[in-house]
């Protein structure tokens, strides 16, 4: 933890469990991600888990676009849980997303100050 080191920004990672279109979770996560930038908080990784992986499925062009923009402006990884992607049939990935196991979530927790989830 680097909370007492004012030179370093806080780092966050997010877990997105909500699919776009099934409740507000996915959009809330995007708004929160953008708000982190305004607060000078570094966003290191967004981990899409369970139905959340639909954020990257072809029929959700708006979600893909918005997340890709966040990744480009905030320099964060967009990671889909590989098991969830398989379950939900998200087989072709937009270029800004990658597939990894739950280890990627553990790694995110290790590399940042806070991980919080959106369901």
């Amino acid at each position: 933890m680097h909370n007492d080191d004012k030179q370093k920004s806080m780092k966050y990672a997010l877990v997105v469990l909500a699919a776009p279109g099934s409740g507000p979770g996915n959009v809330r996560a995007q708004k929160f991600a953008r708000a982190l930038k305004k607060a000078n908080i570094v966003l290191t990784r967004v981990f899409f888990y369970g139905e959340g992986v639909r954020a990257a499925s072809a029929e959700n062009a708006d979600s893909i676009h918005k997340w890709s923009e966040i990744a480009a402006t905030q320099d964060c990884d967009l990671v889909l849980c590989s098991a969830s992607a398989e379950t939900h049939g998200v087989l072709t990935l937009p270029t800004s997303f990658t597939l990894m196991g739950l280890g990627a979530l553990m790694e995110a927790g290790h590399d940042c100050d806070r991980v919080i989830s959106f369901d």
Binding site: A83, G101, L102
Partner: protein, 108 residues
Amino acid sequence: MAEFDLDQLCDSRGFLIDSQVWNAEIAQALAAEEGIKLTPAHWEVLDLLRSFYLEFGESPANRALVNWVKRHEGADKGNSIYLMHLFPSSPARIGSRIAGLPKPKNCL
């Protein structure tokens, strides 16, 4: 000659599709693919992997396998050095594969 075709029995990751068809010959064939010759020490761990699966419904991660072996056989065998020696690189993944179980969820 073996009377089975491993390719037909396994999924795309090399794990048995149906753990019920598992037998000693299949275990030996899977072990051979991993470059492992099964000894009584291996069989002891394979039996424990099968009992873990029966008890909890899924294959263990390495940590759980170490603790399970420790619970049943003591700390001399329930440690990662011993298990890594028998099933190099990932005892839970390689061991589960040879024991005819599905791929453990939490490995990379």
